[in-house]
Symmetry: C2
Subunit: 142 residues, 2 copies
């Protein structure tokens, strides 16, 4: 049914947790691009029951830490000449560099524009990160 | 390339003006459903250069006035057993029933919950509608 034939050259984000597809599509600002992009939601999957897929007919730079933070189920496939030339399962990043804000309102990263927040992973289960500046714990939410 | 094989049963919204696809996807709240849906953006098109397409693997009720208001380029195809059984080009609606608000802040439809705004088309070019209650002109914007 709703199958999409392979793209010639570009990126396929596969095994996205069902329901996360549109959020990732928006985060990557794919509605603003001028090359073909496809969002598939609730596609039947043996492994996951249902999954979302994003296909991007262009070679763009995607931050793997960012993807791993959003949804560590994702597999990223790089396509060239209709073939997968590279396949990578994303991972929850151990260190995060400026992808979200520290929850501590008094943390220097929240009022000094020149200090970018950086964090270390404390607990994978709930994506809990410790701020390098104030040691406050922040759980990342998509 | 990014072609999508036909769906078995459901609805295909074709010839969506490039760039409008995600807005319509959101308006139809297709990110909240549990059946397969596909959004294609910037698909090459002979007729339109680039177009967006939405495929819905389910028979849902879509308000044609609503689609006509949003994007009158759209063709709606009803699919059954992998075949198009009904094809309809949407049109800009002559009358509109409660799909947007009257721009006149003093119009009764804006402070009485029991009075639904209704409008008559005045100018197709900029989707200008006249309120049935206060005669104020309101141009619809997606």
């Amino acid at each position: 049914m709703l199958e999409v034939t392979s793209i010639k050259k570009g990126i396929v984000l596969d095994h996205i947790t069902s329901g996360n597809g549109l959020k990732i599509f928006n985060k990557l600002m794919l509605d603003k691009v001028n090359y073909p992009v496809v969002l598939l939601m609730n596609v039947p999957s043996k492994q996951m029951n249902r999954k979302d897929i994003i296909k991007i007919e262009n070679n763009i730079d995607i931050d793997l830490d960012f993807l791993g933070l959003i949804d560590h189920n994702i597999t990223m496939n790089i396509i060239e000449d209709n073939k997968i030339v590279h396949k990578k399962k994303v991972e929850i990043p151990q260190k995060v560099n400026g992808l979200f804000k520290c929850h501590n309102p008094r943390c220097i990263t929240n009022f000094d524009d020149y200090v970018k927040p950086t964090f270390q992973l404390v607990a994978s289960k709930n994506l809990e990160y410790k701020c390098d500046y104030c040691e406050e714990l922040t759980a990342y939410k998509l």
